[in-house]
Amino acid sequence: MTDVLDPPLVVDQPHEPDGHGNGHGGGHEAHGPTGILKWLTSTDHKVIGMSYMITSLVMFYLAGIMALFIRLQLTSPHSTLLSFNQYNELFTMHGSLMLYLFAGPFAFGGLANYIVPLQIGAPDMAFPRLNALSYWLYLTGSITMLLGFFVAGGAASFGWVAYAPLSSATSSPGIGGDVWIMALALTGFSAIFTGVNLVATTFYLRAPGMTMFRMPIFTWNMLVTGILILIAFPVLTSALIMLFCDRHFGTHIYTVTGCHLVNGAVTHTCGSPLLWQNLFWFFGHPEVYILALPFFGIVTEVLPVFSRKPVFGYKGMVFATMAIAALSTGVWAHHMFTTGAVLLPFFSFLSLLIAVPTGIKFFNWIGTMWHGQLQFTTAMLFSIGFLFAFLMGGVTGIMLASPPIDFATHDTYFVVAHFHQVLFGTAVFAGFSGLYYWYPKMYGRMLNEKLGKWHFWLMFIGFWVTFMPQYVVGLLGMPRRVASYPSNLGWQSYNIVSTVGAFIIALSFLMLLINFVVSWRNPVPAGNNPWDGHTLEWFTTSPPPHHNYTHLPPIRSERPTWDYNHPDNLTVHHGPAKSPPKEKVPVA
């Protein structure tokens, strides 16, 4: 299918040394500087996207190693493997690396950067230099975070949520906490810039015919994620600056220290530790969906392709994404039920309401596979694994949205199991589904399917073995964030099983490393469209040329590549009949 369909896009490039407006299949290596200078100066969304993915995967592996140490410590009630302070540092940095430096940046920095412009037929992101700056802020933020291990007093040890007053200079002296704050400030600005870029790109750089309701669901989800980033991250960044002021400049925004009592009452100038929780969770709960929505988008791309069907309920998916995003911004205080200072019915009701659009998504995912010609590739297996994992995390989330259950299980391992099932289910199962799915497009070579399936099954088994015992031990009363526990409460056996599961997961990720090496040393060419994909990115070469496209097919549905490759099986339009298309879809 190499017919010239329409006049090519013309891209004006004032800085292009050879003056060619479009690439011609030479990959993104062919333009501009080469080597390390290329990496330092590139504004190409594909190079930046891959840089994001590689950096975030390094963070993922580092955080995973920390998790193994945490699990080893808990196999014995009074283990001396780690000191209490080292344990506190490790769970703080594990959470911080996984949430701030892996899950989000892998999705909205890596996959979205690479895939969104391709899916809408754009030559690049709307603000390429800002995009490059986002990456450099993210990389330097990551380095700053890791620097914490090398400073006097060690890394931050107040948990990834940094609750006041534990994060104050009095309770957490030392510069580890300051380094942590500055790392998040850098990555916070990075995320905000990426959010701006994602929204501007989808609003302004869509190809002709790529209307909003023809955008692939992944792009829709990234647009909504971009808006959520713009809602949430400025709040975090400003809250962090205020925390830094509390620690160093004598302000009392989150502390009651230094407040004056007037006739026995605290004056209005007094700070409040609860303000930190309010600000943090106004960021933190949308952040959960900033981490989840991109991965929902990945699954919604993978399931139709390997079911050989269009996505079931396209518009339902879009509206469900919007509803989830909107509701998620109004439920921040459900993390604060036990403070006794929040409006329980309001936050409980909105939290429970999120189950409705999420249920619609599940219904549509099942509907997409229903009566499809399922192909159980590695990417498909990871997506199906996501459905099971996220369902379990979601059901326990509904339980925790109910204040009576939350009061009983708050700060126990039940909550740890719940959010690991949600976030591991999305960021890891769905994230690696996306990696296996789009890797051929990015590198022009396949990953080994056999090794991929070993990766999946080991991870799937390890996942359940790790986290199911944590629900039980949480219900038995084991609190989170403890380095030792009484030996007479029957918690040890559950912890041992959980640790075994964690090592099975670690083994699965060795498989991924081996797979990368095999793919690198014995490349199997992927071709342009190895999965018979539906969306526009599968129309261009693998890897795509500089500025992505020399030619585009007519865009008449959300599956333009499928329509072009299968003119006898065109995608049915949504909604009422439109005027007939001006172009005839050519037959190859």
Binding site: D6, V11, T41, I143, L205, M212, L343, H547, P581
Partner: protein
């Protein structure tokens, strides 16, 4: 532009309603302010896009603006051909060193807040140099 504006205005209306309910139920000022800010985040760009949607269709935005009537953008039209998008899309930089320089400047500056202000003396000039460089580069063509 219509769907973009409706999408953002929906956010504004939703958070306006939620914020109103929240205020009259809880009288809690912090959360209400954040919800009001979020509503504004929907309304401000939403109204801007609605303004442009009106202009594209030859209508005034309330009493403001000159009617143009250029019609939908090709990317908003169900029937647009790829040929309708031919021509200059925009100018895109091929490479630029300034984002890296600015990133390093920000890195040294924030480290200066932790380890000593001497690092900021390294970082701030890098930021200023990068801002100058990227501005000059953008003026020659291309987005930021």
């Amino acid at each position: 532009m219509k769907i973009e504006s409706v999408f953002l205005l929906f956010l504004g209306v939703f958070f306006g309603l939620v914020g109103t309910v929240y205020w009259f139920w809880s009288y809690e000022d912090g959360g209400t302010m954040m919800l009001a800010g979020t509503a504004a985040l929907g309304f401000l760009p939403g109204l801007y896009y609605f303004f442009w949607h009106k202009r594209f269709h030859g209508k005034k935005f309330f009493f403001w603006g000159t009617a143009h009537g250029a019609g939908d953008r090709p990317s908003d039209s169900d029937d647009a051909t790829i040929a309708e998008g031919a021509g200059v899309i925009d100018s895109f930089p091929n490479s630029s060193i300034w984002p890296f320089v600015m990133g390093m400047g920000a890195f040294f500056t924030v480290l200066g807040l932790v380890f000593g202000m001497w690092l900021a003396f390294l970082g701030v000039p890098l930021i200023i140099t990068a801002l100058t460089g990227v501005t000059a580069e953008s003026r020659r063509g291309g987005h930021v």
